[in-house]
Amino acid sequence: MWTFILRRAIQIPVVLLAVITITFFMVRSAPGGPFSSERQLPRHIEANLNAYYGFDRPLLEQYGAYLVQLCQGDLGPSTKYEGLTVNEIIGQSFPVSLQLGLAAFCLSVIIGLPLGIYSAYRQNSVFDYSLMSIAMIGICLPTFVLGPLLSYFFALKFGWFNSSGWYEPKDIVLPAVTLGLYFAAYIARLSRAGMLEVMNQDFIRTARAKGLSEWGVVVTHGVKIAIRPVVSYLGPALAGMVSGSFVVELIYDVPGLGRFFVLGAINQDYSLVLGTVVFFALLIVIFNLAVDVILGLLNPKQREL
């Protein structure tokens, strides 16, 4: 088991380095720069700014310097948000996104998993068909349609929640539902498919023949195997949820991390783009590693891979 984890962990720096390199040269090769805007800066001021941030040095030298800096955990200063470093930006907004993402994550697992399993258990029943149709709608409905609709009905019409803002504890409800519903639907479909495959297998028949209760057959024998595809999906899904969603933050005015992904790219804020991409990639590889470990615990055969 430990050698398996170790072998996976060694791949992490390689993947990260590849992501950093591609992003670095892609951001830099785009025309324009962080200081090009509607209002043209005087040439010597722009030159000074470039010199201050070190953008006037050869590209490869900057790349090397960035890597050294990164190894020390420093993501560099933001060019758009003056006086703030990318570390500070992420440090301020990530806790908000983390709260929201975890809430959405719990919501999607608590809703999706039991419904999907029960739906497979009652295969081809009315419940199964209606649930799967609803799940399909949940998958198709984009957040920027769902968000305004939820906000219109539950905030403006019924007045149960605030339509935007991030002040009270209950402000988390609508954004979390908007963010989590898609994942809940997807998890329901995955767990249903996994469960259907398991329930036709021999060991389930054996368990029934031994006289186990239905609950025992389904939960202790079936679910343990059926949730494997769900677990592999949860890694990237969790990374996506906690790193924030630009649309959800825009609709509900949440001060999260998601908007910096988009704003960094739009403003061509070099270090902010790189910083957020590196952060996201790091989340992805860590959660994927965790997924592999959990799958290894669930299934001894997986450890030999």
């Binding site: 993947v15 590849a18 992501v19 591609i22 992003t23 892609m26 951001v27 785009a30 025309p31 324009g32 295969q123 081809n124 149709s133 399909m136 709608i137 998958i139 198709c140 409905l141 984009p142 920027f144 349609v145 968000g147 305004p148 609709l149 906000s151 219109y152 403006l156 259907l196 630009f246 649309v247 825009l250 609709i251 992904f261 988009v262 960094g264 790219a265 739009i266 061509q268 783009v273 957020t276 991409v277 996201f280 990639a281 992805i284 590889v285």
Partner: protein, 297 residues
């Protein structure tokens, strides 16, 4: 099970049927998928044919005396804040969203199929390298990728579909590669090579027709994914620019003004969601129809 039922119902000898005919028979049994197909055809015809009966450029004609009117017999979907007829804007937006969806899917199809086919056919170290590249690209957040491409292309909508297609080909490449790796070890390929067929001929004549079904199914699911991305870009203001119209743009306008004029959100959102539903249901049904092992059967 479905097959035996089909046999009894239609009294056909199913040995005589080609794979395509069989799949079509299976698809016809799937009510949701057929509903999706008809709904999609209806929306497409509405968006592409109906505007021909409207005044030219109906989507940008402003009537400043009629700002943000509720739906009426003259303006079926009401008007927006500049007094433009929302019905025409929704239809013209649908034209753009749908054409972008198809164009970008074609781009992703072209890149994905040739990349996957080449990678799987060459095999060995070349294959490993090409697939690791795809893995690394997978780890990049797509939104940033597309936004960077849009900054690069300076928001040119005709290049936007190329940008979207350029990020949507990854899964297609993986699927095609998997199929090719499986197919190329079949005996009829060996036989064809022994008869002196060139690599090009084997690829186009023997491999392509065999994985075409999978590609068609996946394309049906790529179109809504692409439309979603386009709408997202337009929603955040990086995509289609006003006074042109697209569903993402209209939803953004509607979301901003839903407190006073909710119909401006409802109609574009309804059209957009219905199109996505229909395509997804159709794609799901096609997948079941082409591959009866997968799913309930």
């Amino acid at each position: 099970m479905i097959l035996s039922r089909l046999n009894r119902q239609n009294e056909v000898q199913w040995g005589e049927l080609s794979i395509t005919q069989l799949s079509w028979l299976r698809l016809k049994q799937n009510k949701l998928a057929m509903g999706g197909l008809f709904l999609f055809i209806f929306i497409t015809i509405l968006c592409f044919v109906f505007p021909l009966f409207l005044p030219a450029n109906a989507y940008e004609i402003q009537n400043l005396n009629l700002q943000a009117q509720a739906p009426s017999s003259e303006y079926w979907f009401g008007t927006d804040s500049l007094g433009r007829d929302l019905f025409s804007r929704v239809l013209y937006g649908g034209r753009i969203s749908l054409s972008l969806g198809f164009a970008a899917t074609m781009v992703s199809l072209l890149i994905g199929v040739s990349y996957g086919c080449l990678s799987g056919y060459l095999g060995g170290r070349c294959d490993a390298m090409m697939m690791r590249t795809v893995d690394v690209l997978y780890a990049l957040p797509f939104t940033i990728f597309v936004i960077l491409l849009m900054v690069l292309f300076e928001r040119n909508i005709f290049l936007m579909f190329a940008a979207i297609g350029a990020v949507e080909w990854l899964t297609m490449a993986r699927i095609v590669r998997g199929q090719v790796v499986y197919l190329k070890n079949q005996q009829y390929i060996d036989a064809s090579r022994a008869l002196g067929a060139s690599d090009i001929k084997i690829m186009f004549k023997h491999l392509l027709p065999n994985f075409l079904g999978v590609v068609i199914v996946f394309s049906t699911l790529t179109v809504p994914a692409v439309m979603l991305l386009e709408a997202f870009l337009s929603f955040i203001g990086m995509g289609v620019q006003p006074p042109m119209s697209s569903w993402g743009l209209l939803i953004r306008d509607g979301a901003d003004s839903m407190e006073v004029s909710p119909w401006r959100l409802c109609f574009p959102a309804l059209f957009f969601s219905l199109t996505l539903f229909s395509l997804n249901f159709l794609g799901d049904g096609l997948r079941d129809a082409f591959d009866p092992r997968d799913g309930k059967a």
